[in-house]
């Protein structure tokens, strides 16, 4: 089963870069939904014997990260009438180059770390690169909805790392899914704020009134 798992991990890296490089919000959401589906398949692919707990984890991951959160992001776009184009603070080329640098760092760091016995060597570097690219999106994109996408990627990276401990402490990966609550709160927040008409545009950039 391992070759399939490695293929899925590489596809996750691909979705990371897809979010970095696209200019349309809807493509970013499609990429993050795909990442959620891939993530959900991993608990089943990485472990030889299936137990009910892993199946429940996989199904709930697919439902939450693959369907529910992307759907609510689309709902937020409709409801809050967000403009569809993405205006990053740094250009796409620079983003992709930074992403490539993150990839190099992730693989070299993971090479140095004393790895516990894992089904595949790719798990730790892919987790690290997803965390880093998620942070990159969170920091460099001005639009609140894209920051949520960045946060989702950050979470997904942490979830991947949690999978290294899934066999010993399955409780841990399940706890990781709780982070999705924050993403849900952000999306709710964006819509509610917009309905309140506090902002003409929900660019987090404009939230700059409080300062010293």
């Amino acid at each position: 089963m391992t070759p399939l798992a490695e293929l899925v991990l590489l596809a996750i890296v691909f979705t990371d870069f897809a979010v970095l490089g696209t200019s349309r919000l809807s493509s970013c959401i499609r990429a993050i939904a795909l990442q959620g589906l891939l993530l959900g398949s991993l608990p089943l692919l990485l472990h030889a014997e299936l137990n009910p707990r892993l199946v429940v984890l996989a199904v709930s991951t697919v439902l939450i990260k693959g369907f529910a959160l992307p759907a609510s992001l689309r709902w937020a776009i409709r409801e809050a009438a967000v403009r569809r184009e993405v205006e990053p603070l740094i250009g796409y080329l620079a983003s992709i180059l930074l992403g490539a640098a993150a990839l190099a760092v992730a693989f070299s760091v993971a090479g140095v770390l004393p790895l516990p016995s894992l089904p595949t060597d790719l798990l730790v570097p892919v987790s690290l690169v997803t965390v880093m690219i998620g942070l990159l999106v969170l920091i460099t994109r001005a639009k609140a909805l894209l920051q949520v996408v960045g946060y989702l990627m950050l979470e997904n990276g942490i979830y991947l790392f949690g999978l290294t401990q899934a066999e010993r402490a399955p409780f841990l990966v399940e706890v990781g899914v709780l982070l999705d609550v924050f993403a849900g709160v952000f999306i709710m927040g964006i819509v509610v704020f917009h309905i309140n008409r506090e902002f003409d545009s929900i660019s987090a950039d404009r939230l700059r009134e409080l300062r010293d």
């Binding site: 770390l113 004393p114 516990p116 965390v131 942070l135 969170l138 609140a144 920051q147 946060y151 950050l154 979470e155 942490i158 790392f161 949690g162 290294t164 401990q165 010993r168 402490a169 409780f171 841990l172 706890v175 990781g176 709780l178 982070l179 609550v181 924050f182 709160v185 952000f186 927040g189 704020f193 309140n196 506090e198 902002f199 987090a204 939230l207 700059r208 009134e209 409080l210 010293d212």
Partner: protein, 480 residues
């Protein structure tokens, strides 16, 4: 059973707050707070309780912080009842419910001896506090909540990664003990993988440091404390940050036991010094009393991690300081809350002559000023002095000198603003606004907190000093 009740009773009460009649909510809030404090005092009589197979456990360090949370919450619950008569915050139901939920989550953080469980408590605490910050339906509150949620959620995500890394550092099988259980981690600290442990410490320091508001991760603090209702500010500065400190202290204890001192201690001291520097820089010339208190909170969090970092008697001072600082912050925020209720502003230039308009709250501000700046005879004098002894004992004379200089600057900054507010000429206030006078109900809670802070400066009860010594021993320190 007792430990589970401490966590679950506030949660049940939080749910009840949604269904019962409005006039009963005050009774529910105060009743739950009083019950919680009564149960916590039972812990002092019969210590060492555990539940859920050791996932929830009570130790001297946790007992001290839980007592702080419980007493502070009781004072704030009492204050909240009077406050809601003056100015009803958004959604009375949600307000009471979130306050009670906070108490339950904070108890879970303190009593958890399992890091994943502690993390769940920390996340819940972050979530239930956000509606409390969003007090006014305006742009400034919105910005404060958004910043708070963004920074804390990234912080909490890093903390989770840190928890995963900590699990990775634990060897499989009998050699490592049960995964992520604090007592097992301490007992088998020598078996932990040093590289993964250091990685775990870095992420947990960033995660818990964001919750504590250590510089440079403090940027949510002035905005949040500035916009939230004062009593929520008091709860966050006194209880939430102390719970985060407890989490950091537990991780540090494991690192010390594993012999990672050379890495962990300098990191803690560096974050602490950065916090003191930032606090001193922004306290001078600050124009808003609530933001001033936020930077004072950054300062005290810095002192806590410095004490933890130098070890020895510094660790003892640090735990005592967490207790003192939490109570003093509660006192100060509640007194400021009274001022804001009457003057309608927290901008210092518009507030003058409080000794005439609000004689008791004005006096409390002065008391709080001397307490917060570590003057005798208040408890913070003893704890700051013990931390300084710890710094010198670890032979860091330069760090000691820098800390003393920064504390002096901070004293001048705080005193300049507060003395002017209390004794300044009333006519000189810019854009004066008057509505109402001091409410008797609202001075009770800050007076009680002031009395405790004063008492702790004069006399530390024997059970407390024994618990402090035991907590310091866990943190690799010693009693003076």
């Amino acid at each position: 059973m007792l430990l589970l009740t401490l966590v679950l009773a506030p949660v049940v009460a939080a749910a009840l707050a949604y269904v019962i009649a409005a006039r009963l909510r005050a009774v529910l809030l105060l009743g739950t707070a009083a019950l919680h404090t009564a149960l916590v005092s039972l812990l002092w009589i019969a210590p060492g309780d555990r539940a859920l197979g050791g996932w929830l456990a009570e130790d001297p360090l946790g007992r001290i912080i839980l007592t702080l949370v419980s007493v502070l919450f009781l004072a704030i619950a009492h204050y909240a009842i009077g406050y809601r008569r003056e100015e009803d915050p958004r959604g009375g139901r949600a307000f009471v419910s979130c306050l009670l939920g906070f108490l339950g989550a904070a108890s879970l953080v303190v009593l958890s001896h399992h890091f994943a469980l502690m993390w769940i408590g920390m996340e819940t605490m972050t979530l239930v506090v956000s509606p409390l910050i969003f007090h006014h339906d305006d742009r400034r509150s919105l910005e404060a909540v958004w910043k708070y949620l963004m920074l804390s959620s990234v912080g909490i995500a890093f903390a989770l990664l840190g928890v995963f890394l900590l699990a990775t550092a634990q060897p499989h099988g009998v050699a490592g003990g049960r995964p992520l259980v604090f007592d097992d981690l301490m007992a088998n600290a020598a078996a932990l993988d040093p590289v993964w442990l250091r990685a775990a410490f870095v992420f947990l320091l960033i995660g818990f440091g964001t919750k504590m508001g250590l510089a440079p991760l403090h940027s949510w603090k002035p905005d949040t404390y500035g916009e939230a209702p004062s009593l929520v500010g008091g709860l966050m500065a006194g209880a939430l940050t102390s719970c985060a400190f407890l989490g950091l202290a537990r991780v540090s204890a494991i690192c010390f036991a594993a012999g990672a001192d050379d890495f962990v201690r300098p990191a803690l001291i560096a974050f602490g010094l950065a916090s003191l520097v930032i606090a001193a820089a922004f306290i001078i010339g600050q124009g808003d009393i609530k933001r001033l208190l936020a930077y004072s909170s950054v300062e005290h969090m810095g002192l806590l991690v410095i004490g933890l970092g130098v070890g020895g008697v510094g660790a003892y001072g640090s735990v005592l300081h967490a207790l003192n600082n939490g109570l003093a912050k509660g006192l100060m925020f509640l007194a400021v809350g009274n001022v804001v209720l009457v003057t309608g502003t927290s901008v210092a230039d518009r507030i003058r002559g409080l000794h005439q308009r609000l004689p008791i709250s004005g006096t409390l501000l002065i008391v709080g000023l001397f307490a917060l700046t570590g003057s005798p005879p208040f408890g913070l004098f003893i704890s700051e002095f013990t931390i300084l002894r710890g710094i010198l004992g670890a032979s860091h004379p330069w760090i000691g000198a820098i800390v003393i200089a920064l504390l002096a600057i901070i004293f001048v900054g705080l005193a300049a603003m507060i003395l002017e507010m209390v004794y300044g000429n009333r006519e000189a206030a810019a854009g004066r606004s008057e509505h109402g006078e001091e409410r008797k109900w609202l001075v009770v809670a800050p007076l009680a907190l002031a009395a405790i802070v004063l008492l702790l400066g004069v006399y530390i009860p024997r059970p407390l000093s024994m618990a402090l010594a035991a907590a310091a021993a866990t943190l690799g320190g010693a009693a003076p």
